[in-house]
Amino acid sequence: MKTIVDINSVEKSYGLTQVINHCSFKIYEGEIYGLLGINGAGKTTLMKMILGLQQIDRGSIYVLGKEVNNNPEYLSNIGSVIENPTFYEHLNAKELLSMHLCYMQKKADISETLHLVGLENADKKTISEYSLGMKQRLGLARAIIHHPKLLILDEPLNGLDPIAISEMRGLMKKLTNEGMSILLSSHIIGEVRHTADRIGILSDGYIKQEFSVKEKISECGDHFEDYIISLMRREQI
């Protein structure tokens, strides 16, 4: 299987606090990798390091075989929704996505993407008129419209209603079937369990445990969530 992301012994500190400590894992083509960890475990930091938004203190990250450094060209193959997405609120969805495509130097069908995320009827409203859920959908539309090979989603289901969550899960599966790889972070076990193919538990700054969801569920049965919670707890210092 082709490796899309290769993270090798990455370290990151903020002052004296070591947030990421010898963290290593790989994401393969066409899979959804769920990154689970408690609040402050370093999930967002790790994602930002892949996007070049945070400097790497030690170690290396390769995306599609290219090392993450000051050359931003590799970013054209990545789509992302980090934290709560922000927009230029005076624009409408079509204008925003067209601007995004210009930056990414790619062409795509805007109407089709809006239909895919369920915003086909809201394309003429300005974004300032959107609800939180609609903004989340638009954030996802912006992340996938340029057909990236890697999609990074930081708690993407926040603010979505149950129907939208179910639709988003379906959409993620559809995208992976088309060959896209997804790195999904969350602190909600159920969210990742129903979506991811593999899960990595980020605790104490490194991937404490990595497993296939199907295999682990068949192994643990009803105790799956208890098992994950025990792994997510920080080591007592």
Binding site: I78, Q105, R142
Partner: protein, 238 residues
């Protein structure tokens, strides 16, 4: 990819065009007022007032100083919207996720702010002095003309004033970026304007040289500060 077009999509240019028109209208009102002041108070005026209001060099220096103040602050306001609000809010996450060099984006933004400031300041100052000149002829108010190349003087001093205003805008932007605040950007430009405004009227008869020297010094400072800002953005973590 046309980065300039993309940047213009992000801002409502009409807002700034109205602001520029407002500044122009205010400057024109001041200019017309200055023309009539000397007519109204000739008896009580002292030598400096006479030099300032009774000849075109003085009026030019006065209007250019006011224009410099207005446009420097306007430049900082535009920079606060175009640059500071982008780099100091969560918008920066999406901006840095594009496969475009960070330095190129900053350069585009700074060029947009500087161009808007320089062009509008130049046109506004030239127009205000021009309209004052025509009004003086219509109303038979003729402040002394003691410069041979007055038209040339207006064009050059307006040009240097536009350059100086945009340099102040860039310096204020760097300060605002360091403090992560739009308010700091505008306050910084206000402080610079307060200090510099008095220097422009030092020598009324050689305003071109005064404007040239001040703007040259500030362009060098702005250039130096721009490079520091560029390096900071290159290493910026969000």
């Amino acid at each position: 990819m046309n980065l300039y077009k993309l940047e213009f999509m992000k801002i409502k240019l009409s807002t700034y065009l109205w602001a520029i028109f407002g500044v122009f209208a205010s400057l024109l009102a001041f200019g017309i007022l200055f023309l009539f002041i000397f007519q109204m108070e000739t008896e009580s005026s002292d030598a400096f007032e006479e030099e300032l209001f009774a000849n075109w060099n003085g009026l030019l220096a006065l209007i250019t100083t006011l224009s410099f103040g207005f446009f420097s602050i306007l430049s900082a306001v535009i920079a606060a919207k175009v640059i500071i609000s982008e780099y100091c809010t969560k918008n920066v996450i999406i901006l840095f996720s594009y496969p475009v060099n960070r330095k190129t984006i900053l350069k585009t933004k700074c060029l947009i702010v500087s161009s808007i400031t320089t062009i509008s300041a130049f046109i506004s100052n030239t127009l205000v002095i021009g309209i004052m000149y025509i009004s003086a002829h219509i109303f038979k108010i003729m402040p002394q003309m003691n410069t041979k190349y007055f038209f040339f003087t207006i064009l050059l001093s307006s040009f240097f004033m536009g350059i100086l205003s945009s340099a102040v805008g860039i310096i204020s932007t760097a300060f605002g970026l360091k403090k992560h605040s739009s308010v700091s950007t505008i306050v910084c430009s206000l402080i610079i304007v307060c200090v510099l405004a008095n220097c422009i009227t030092i020598s009324l008869n050689s305003i071109i040289w005064v404007m040239f020297i001040i703007s040259a010094v500030f362009v060098i400072i702005a250039n130096f500060i721009y490079h520091i800002m560029e390096n900071r953005i290159e290493k910026m973590e969000v």
